[in-house]
Each structure stands twice: as C-alpha cells, then as structure tokens.
C-alpha cells in the first residue's frame, strides 16, 4: 500500500499535471460562468486535446474542467440571475437577491468557499469509499457486468426531459449507432451498407461532438439570430466592491455545508440524479432545518452554501459508481467514462487492481483540483465576471471551430470530420421533437459494454436469458436498477413541481 502511495505521489506531482490541472480548472470556471456553455460541452471540446497526454494527465485535466465548471456556474447565477450550468440553478435563489443588495462579492466568496469544501470532502470520500466498493464488486462476472451496464442506463430516467419513452428511444439510437461496423466478439459486419467508411463504425468522439457540441452551436446560433436585442449590459465588476465572507459567517454556514455534502454524496452516487437534483434537495433541507428559514430566497448565505457545496460534492461522489462499477452517475460522468475508454482505461472493479496507481493518481488529482479552484477563484473571479456576457456571435464560431478540429484530430480522417454535420442535423431535429441527446450519448458509450457482456453471458449459459435473474448479484442489481429508475423519476417530478425552472437538471 505504501509502495502504491509513493508511486501515486510520483505520478501526480509532475510539472505537466500541475500545468494542465491549473489551466483546466481556469478554463472550467470560464466555461461554467458563460451561460450557454456547459461542462459537458467543455469536456467534449477539450477531449481531443488530451490525446497526446498520459491517461492520468488527461483525466485530471478533464476533471479540472468539471470542478471549475461547477463553481463557474454560480458566477453568472449570482451576477445576472442566469445559471451558467444546470446545477447552479438553486444558487440563483439566494445568490442573485444577495447581489442585488450590493453584496455580490459576499455571495461569490460564499459560493467559492462552499464549492471548495464540498468538492474537497466529496473527493476525499471517493478516495476512501471507492476501494471497498471495488473489492465487493470484484466478484462480478459477465452477467453482473451486463446488469451493471443496464443499471448505468437508468441514468436515462434522470436525463430524459419530459418523456422517459423518448429517452428510451434516444438511448436505442445511441446503442444502434454503437452497433454499426465490425462487431468485436465475432467480427460480423453490421449496417455498413458495403461502405468501407463504416467498417470501423462511428467513433465515439465525432459522435459526441456532432450530437452534443455542434447541435448546441446550431440551436444557440438560431436562437441568437432570432433574438431582437442583446441582454442588458451591466458593469458586473462594479458589483464586486463589498467585503467578502468573514470568519463568523463561515462558522455559521459550516453545518449547512457538511450536511449538504452528506446529502450530495448519497445523491451523486445514484445514477441519474446529478448535481441539479443534489443541490435542490440540499437547499430544501437547509431551509427546512435553518434557524432563519425566512431569509431563504432573499439572499441567505446558508442557501448559497447548501446549493454550491452539494453540486461540487457530486463531482467526487458521481465518480464512485463510475470508477468502481463502471456506471456513470450523470451526463458528465458518462462523457468521462468515454474519456477513460479512449485513454485505454476501463472503469470497473478491475481498475483498482489492474491500474491502481493510475486510478489513485486521478483521485488525488481531483483533490488537488479543488485546492487549485480555491486559489484561482480568489484571484480571478472578478476578471472572469467581465466575460460572462460574451456574444454568441463570437462564442458559437469559436466552439464550431473546435468541433471540426476535434473531430478531425480523433483519427486524422476527413470522413469523421464530415460526419459531425449529419449527426448535428439528427441532434437538432430530435431536440426539436423533444428528445434529449444525453440518453443517446449514454447508449453510445454503454451500448458496447451491454453487448459484449450479454453475448458472453449467453455463451456461458448456453443461451439461457434467465441467467441474469438466476445469478443473485445480477438479479439484485437489476432490482436496484428498477427501484432507482422509479426513485429518480419521482424525485425529478417532485423537484420540478417545487421549482418549475428546474427541468432537465442533470447535465
């Protein structure tokens, strides 16, 4: 164990890791702060740039964007009442009223402190909780892996928007796309229409870029074109002259932060819930148990602390099912699952035995990203606040440039770059009909895992499909999947009922 600890320290504390961790957290804060840019989008756009990096550096850099983005979302939530990310929606409830009282700096410093403490504790919990779960999960064989992948697909319940049926169709499209090309176990060609270009299938990265990033550019550009006038311009920096949060106030919100961290750890580890659900549940709990519930909605520091600590805790806790079981906790971790696979790491119980040093290095890197967040937040929040109103006329073009460059960079093939245009058309028109592309993305990533383990299970059981119910662990996982689906749907319904603006909170 000591040997692993030393190796981990040697792997994490390198100049390259330090540079990319700082750069990615900074980039994450900017991405989170600008309404219209999401953490998912940021990670997809940054993913092609990580190809030349080691897996540890690459994943730490992507996690840096996630960590920075979760805090960044609160900047626009507090200053202009528009959450930069979906998980910062609850922050607007008290952040903006406090800013309107001339205490924007206090609101932002509370958000930063709560984000860092929540994120740090979430990462530490991940560090200690992951190994025992992975050890338990190490007994899994192909039927259990199949059931786990099905469990991962329960995320659909939380990210389907207004219709779970449409979410299931969307996931089916994703799984179908993942089936195109050469099948990995038997080498059978599928739906290639005799085109050589389709023999190797549709790669994950161009698919993600086309279906999510370029679709978003298309949607936002059309919206921008239709918009009659720009948002009212305000000198936000003028708002940041009040004092920051003091020691007495920190003491008063600590209990709320710790409680919210606890709630978010449990919620974040559940597939499908995500930061949005965690922040609303923590916010509601903080209001219920507060000595001053009347201040909530009018600029309560406890309200900001509850929302922000919980959405940053989720970064760590959503990694628990991802690293130990190979199932993503939300949309962002689904992309991270894709990133792990692209970098030759297969999340799941074996990760802690086969690639223990890399895995622990990534977890320690996540802890460090939270410390970096505090420093960068203190130094640059004021400067970043200046760019949150950047015109989409610039932003959209810049994102599209990255999309095309990233798609080409995946394999150096013009064909993959051209492919993102039809995929964006599919994404746009499905979005118009009320389909979320996140389940499609989950289908794309989890589809091959479902298929390989299903086929292996069928081979070892001589074609008995009941094997998934005959094996006790597999059966328990499937029952859990069903219970979680119902639970997440109910939780989403309840939160949407209480907060009508919260639709589709899990990114």
């Amino acid at each position: 164990m000591d040997n692993i600890a030393l190796q981990v320290l040697g792997q994490v504390f390198t100049l390259q890791n330090g540079f990319f961790a700082i750069a990615s957290v900074f980039l994450g804060i900017i991405i989170g702060a600008i309404p219209g840019l999401t953490v998912t989008l940021g990670i997809i756009l940054f993913l092609p740039l990580t190809y030349g990096m080691t897996p540890i550096t690459a994943i730490i850099a992507l996690l840096g964007i996630y960590v920075g983005g979760c805090y960044g979302g609160s900047i626009s939530a507090i200053l202009i009442n528009i959450p930069g990310t979906n998980s910062a929606l609850a922050t607007t409830l008290d952040g903006y009223p406090l800013a309107a009282q001339g205490k924007a700096n206090k609101a932002l410093s509370t958000s930063l402190f709560a984000s860092v403490v929540g994120g740090f504790l979430g990462s530490v919990i991940l560090l200690f909780a992951a190994q025992p779960i992975a050890t338990m999960a190490a007994k899994c064989r192909s039927p259990e892996y199949f059931s786990l992948a099905i469990f991962g697909l329960t995320v659909i319940a939380g990210v389907s928007g207004d219709s779970i049926v449409k979410g299931i169709i969307s996931a089916c499209i994703g799984i179908f796309i993942s089936c195109i090309g050469l099948e990995s176990l038997s080498g059978t060609l599928r739906y290639t229409f005799d085109s050589l270009l389709l023999f190797s299938g549709i790669s994950l990265l161009p698919a993600l870029i086309g279906l999510i990033a370029l679709t978003q550019v298309l949607l936002k550009s059309v919206e921008e074109k239709r918009k009659a006038s720009d948002l009212e311009k305000v000198d936000y920096v003028e708002k940041l002259k009040d004092p920051q949060i003091n020691k007495k106030e920190i003491k008063s919100i600590m209990k709320t932060i710790l409680k919210s961290t606890g709630i978010a750890t449990v919620i974040g580890a559940m597939p499908g819930a995500g930061g949005g659900v965690a922040s609303f549940l923590s916010y509601n709990e903080a209001r219920r148990t507060s000595k001053h519930p009347e201040e909530f909605g009018k600029g309560s520091l406890e309200g900001i602390a509850a929302a922000e600590s919980s959405n940053n805790t989720v970064v760590g806790s959503a990694m628990i099912p991802l690293l130990t079981l190979g199932i993503p906790g939300d949309g962002v971790t689904a992309i991270l699952l894709g990133a792990f696979i692209l970098h030759g790491m297969q999340p799941g119980p074996k990760l802690f035995t086969d690639q223990a040093v890399e895995t622990y290095s990534i977890i320690v890197g996540l802890i460090i990203c939270n410390i970096i967040l505090y420093v960068l937040g203190r130094l640059f929040t004021k400067q970043i606040s200046k760019i949150i109103n950047i015109s989409y006329k610039i932003l959209g073009v810049a994102i599209a440039l990255f999309c095309f460059a990233g798609a080409f960079a995946n394999s150096g093939s013009i064909y993959e770059m051209l492919l993102i245009v039809p995929l964006a058309i599919v994404g746009y028109y499905l979005g118009l009909l009320g389909f979320s592309v996140i389940p499609m993305m989950l289908g794309l990533i989890l589809g091959p895992i479902v298929e390989v383990n299903f086929t292996r299970s069928m081979i070892v059981s001589f074609g008995d499909p009941l094997i998934f119910f005959k094996e006790p662990i597999s059966c328990s996982i499937l029952i859990f999947a069903l219970v979680f689906t119902i639970l997440i749907m109910r939780m989403n319904k309840k939160i949407e009922g209480e907060n009508p603006n919260s639709e589709g909170m899990s990114e």
Binding site: V165, S221, K393, A405, T455
Partner: protein, 152 residues
C-alpha cells in the same frame, strides 16, 4: 406550424425501427451454426424492437391518452437552421480542399454574414483564434490538422 411531437416521433420511430428490422438479414450476415441469442444480431434486434414499441406507446399517448406535447415549428427558424447546416457543410468542404486555416477564415466570414455582424474586431479576434487553434493542435499537442493543398 404546430406539430404534435409525440405522434410525429411515434410514426418516425415505428417506420425507422421497422426498416432497420427488414434490413437486418441483408446487413448482418452471421456465418456458421450460431444461435440467434448468441449472435451479432441480438442486440440490434432488441434495440429496433424497442424503438417500434416505444414509437407505438408515443402514438397511443398522443391519440388515446391525450398526452401530447405541441412543438411550434416556425419557418424563419427553420430557414436559419438550414442556412447554418449549409454553412457547416461548406466549412467542412472548405477544410477538405483548402486546409483548416483558410477554411476557418471562410467560415468566420460566412458566420459574420449570417449574423449580419459587421464588427471588424470580432472578425479579427476569430481569425486570430483560427490560427491559435491550428497551432494549439499541431504544435503544442502534436495533433495534425488539414493543411492547404493536402486533400485526403
């Protein structure tokens, strides 16, 4: 134009699923004596079947349960969307024939025309960004991007 999204989606996915199912035998050829449940056909089969079932549920929701979501499709918006798609296609073709930098500059000009953006500073910033992205990929991260005269 108001579109019944559940009804339209239901019809689209029943047709899509059915077409894929019909194409399955010609598009997935399994050699040897392999049981269907162990073959490369099984997952696509279930996925396509699920699409048809879900499509049917959407139609039932729309016609019988009166659970419908109407989507407003306005022609102006569609015109903009189709123009944007056209711009993306031209950009991809430009990259193919002229490389990333020239293609990128062409894209910026097309987008400026699309947004009727005459702000030269914006265009300049974006031009610098194209060059920055090119050098970031090729020089910093050593990932190649198409160059002028390099048709692949």
């Amino acid at each position: 134009m108001r579109v019944r999204s559940n009804l339209v989606s239901g019809i689209i996915f029943i047709v899509f699923g059915a077409v894929l199912l019909l194409l399955m035998d010609s598009q997935i050829i399994v050699y040897g004596d392999v049981k269907f449940i162990e073959s490369a056909k099984v997952i696509p089969f279930f996925v396509e079947l699920l699409m048809i079932v879900c499509g049917a549920i959407l139609i039932i929701q729309s016609l019988f349960l009166k659970k419908e979501k109407y989507v407003e499709i306005c022609w102006d918006e569609q015109k903009y969307a189709l123009t944007m798609i056209g711009i993306f296609a031209v950009f991809a073709a430009l990259i193919y024939f002229t490389g990333f930098i020239i293609g990128g500059i062409g894209f910026i000009v097309m987008m400026a025309l699309f947004f009727k953006n005459r702000n030269l500073v914006h265009i300049l910033i974006l031009t610098v960004m194209v060059i920055f992205i090119y050098f970031l990929f090729t020089q910093v991260f050593h990932i190649s991007l198409p160059r002028f005269g390099e048709v692949r």
